[in-house]
Symmetry: D2
Subunit: 293 residues, 4 copies
């Protein structure tokens, strides 16, 4: 599985607190018709930590059956054994790769050595390629460039999704890792600069709602049309912020509702957007469309 291009980390739809497979099938049909390279199920936007293990496997199987895109499944748990068990289970139902977040509850215990052992053990036992997932804003743990470059030599570790926003770290990994190892931008807000320093794609929340635009930045960059790529990167910044740093999963789901997908409410304790936020989000999306005219 060669990692490249734009992946959407899809949200998990709920109705009445349960996974809503009907609406999900409709969303999947839409994403499948876009130029996206793949989908990530059970990433941060998929409310992974709010799902039970059984739900995670069912969900992965369902997504696998309802799209021809590549499917990456988030399988990182706090314990090594739970991570290995879940990774095997999603592999059994057809996931193409596992996205494994750093364990993080015991932050002070997650030194480089412990993280190295964790990822090595998971990769050793995983039937499918492993992608490192660095998400310091949520975890309080950072995967340093030196460690990633070292893990990159493991034959079953094929890339890193770096959501730190630390562009120097991404450059350091791209400079130090073997050729086949893929650095992926963890957010659409720095997709272009990440490509500039050697990233091979991005897993971007905003790609759920702007799959064409994100893919277009990627293509423009490779065609050397940098000025156009920059204009488009600038254009998506405000929408990106609304569905990530500002309002998170609730913002992404609200934007999906506005734009004709099924979004719905997140699982508690996450709360849906209030009316004023929803109106402001509407304005941000309107602005986006008007600047594209």
């Amino acid at each position: 599985m060669r990692l490249e291009g734009i992946y959407a980390p899809i949200p998990t739809p709920f109705v009445g607190g349960e996974i809503a497979y009907g609406p999900l099938a409709e969303n999947l049909a839409k994403w499948s018709a876009t130029p996206l390279s793949g989908l990530v199920v059970m990433g941060s936007n998929g409310e992974s930590v709010l799902l039970d293990e059984r739900e995670k496997v069912e969900l992965t199987a369902f997504v696998r059956r309802h799209t021809d895109k590549k499917v990456v499944a988030g399988t990182g748990c706090e314990s090594t054994r739970a991570t290995v068990r879940l990774t095997k289970a999603v592999a059994d139902v057809g996931a193409g790769a596992a996205l494994v977040i750093t364990p993080h509850y015991y932050k002070s215990g997650m030194k480089d050595e412990a993280l190295k052992r964790f990822y090595t053990e998971v990769a050793d036992h995983s039937p499918i390629p492993v992608i490192l997932y660095n998400m310091p804003r949520n975890t309080g743990v950072n995967l340093a460039a030196v460690l990633v470059a070292e893990l990159a030599r493991h034959p079953n570790i094929v890339g890193v999704k770096d959501s730190s926003g630390d562009i120097v770290q991404m450059a350091e990994v791209a400079a130090a890792a073997p050729d086949g190892f893929a650095v992926f931008a963890g957010s659409g807000s720095y997709l272009l600069p990440a490509l500039a320093v050697g990233a091979r794609g991005g897993t971007c929340a905003v790609a759920n709602i702007l799959p064409e635009e994100c893919t277009r930045i990627f293509r423009l960059f490779y065609e050397g049309r940098l000025e156009e790529a920059r204009r488009l990167q600038h254009r998506i910044l405000a929408v990106n912020r609304a569905v990530t740093a500002r309002w998170g999963v609730a913002g992404l789901k609200a934007a999906m509702d506005i734009l004709g997908w099924f979004g719905g409410e997140p699982r508690p304790p996450l709360s849906p957007l209030g009316t004023p936020e929803r109106e402001e989000l509407q304005r941000i999306l309107d602005d986006f469309r008007s600047t594209g005219a």
Copy 2:
């Protein structure tokens, strides 16, 4: 259930990666013979996040059967529904109260309103009293004094374990909360100052290995023997640091091994102490005993 005194947040022993009930029974027999007021099972020191739901219920049931002390069970999960489900399950097997940590993966979504809804819903559905658990060092989320004081009015929320180390926050809660509400120091390192500002006890990792000393600080304080309490508080600082901030669960388990309890290894990805750390820990424990002579 009136919260008062010193509780030990007991570690979960493992042998071959599985919960070691035999050694646990022996540890429980020892703790039961101390002046501790109670035990907390599945707190941070219990490696709660590394246990499966099934293990958690079994573990609680086992502890309940093997001690006459009060038993508080840690039941906080990321989702509201998982937290409620686990709280009911541990209540069914005899836990006296539930210690509920703040959800924290979606930190930016855990505003006061969301936390208020979360704790209210859990407390509404819990058959046993709920204790708030504030652990910012691990979670990156803080339970502000104003919010705790508000939640303290819920009839089924009886206290807070505050592991922030923020002594002003503890004072603010003690000043603002109703009389029946208990503030508990989350670490033995600030047990005495917490009592000074109105705490009613502590849940202290170090109480696992120094149950007599921690209880003694508590009693000396209430007898107005402040100078002696301060000397004892000073004496336990280095040991406390070794089994918390410095080496965490691995340090606590190593100290238990040294002192004649069963400690053993933590579950991966946590690592046991290396030999140099173990030797340094031995020196710290020796120093402690020599100063007490």
Copy 3:
């Protein structure tokens, strides 16, 4: 100079942007009539970093001439040579001790070794006793307990004002430092718990406006009347927060204006409180007085 009791870190009054010596003289007359042990000029509340070197020396001389209280002068600058020069200058005009904040612009360079050299050199050259000043919230640098305990052995280093709020750190210093060395609480919000772990007093912004109450907590503690001390500590929390963490120097000056001292406006870029904040502050002060009835 034996450090003990309550010190007020006095604000520097300005009229038309210049130091207002007339109003300052009136304030000094009032503070001199209180049970305060001493005054700190050019602390954080004195807007030290907004004053020129010439102003600092004049100001110290003026305060020295207008009060019989002990006078401590803040003399820490970023460079060692400027700190030594200013320390000598304030000693020449009668300051009794120098309060020396950690250099902090080059945070990553301020490792323990560098701080140790800095304080040793300053103390070696200072004609007056040196007090360490730890203020991480403003500086981003922390003076660790181990380092303070080591510096405490220097014959010309007599104490530490710890504004970190880290009560364990204060306990560790009190436990490890020689007997003559004084730990001072850096805020009135944790005066009582600091005393409980071995502090010998406090330098508290709130002591500018509540000198009697702060001194009373100190005395009640030494008389073993802990319950009364705690009630008073609880009572001052909201006022303390208003004039420190919440509104800072501007809040303290506004409170002084309300309570009959001269406060006035801080120097730009600091801004005075707006009308809504001033009204809320008035309510907080009213609440304080009503609970004392």
Copy 4:
């Protein structure tokens, strides 16, 4: 003064604790012979906070007389009035623009409104163009994109040196600011990605020792030779880290000594590099040269 290209923020050489003008003249002669667009005197690398006001003006005058490059002078102080006074003084001796860091001691007082007033007042009174200087790692204060975009409309504010490393923030400013406003990368480690999102140059510590290479990245980028630009960007990462995040000013000065400039020792409390660090730095510089062969 149109801001564009690569500026070196030059270190201030000292001999016996005093500014060493002879060695400085020699350094200036060398920099003047490079393709650098300009020099920044009294930036963070110039040990600005360790210099007296009189030294700052003399130093600026000296640099102005000894180079034909554009000269930008760092003039930000904690107080508005000191900043205005110094800005006028350096303008009088020929500085072409003023680089004004955020005031930062009173972090909690440095809200957007206060920063806006500060910069507006400085720009209103400055005889030369003002460049905003955002350096959160040292100051703990961040200039948000929205605020910078607003300040960018002031006719005397011409650019921002952003040393936050936050590539999204730089993109947001480039997207929102008027055309004439220049975003400058504050470090050589993210020069290329900053250019990719719309920056017009960089003020880079590493440009002091690698002026040709930094300028070459800039030119390759504008010629659309992105692949070569990326390779060069990758090559300078380790050297850049050594003279910034890792060893700071002391590292930069040591590297200058190794490479044939005059570096010397920083002013205390900054310490020079020890022997092991110096040897490691030598290896890093050797590696850099060998990869370029």
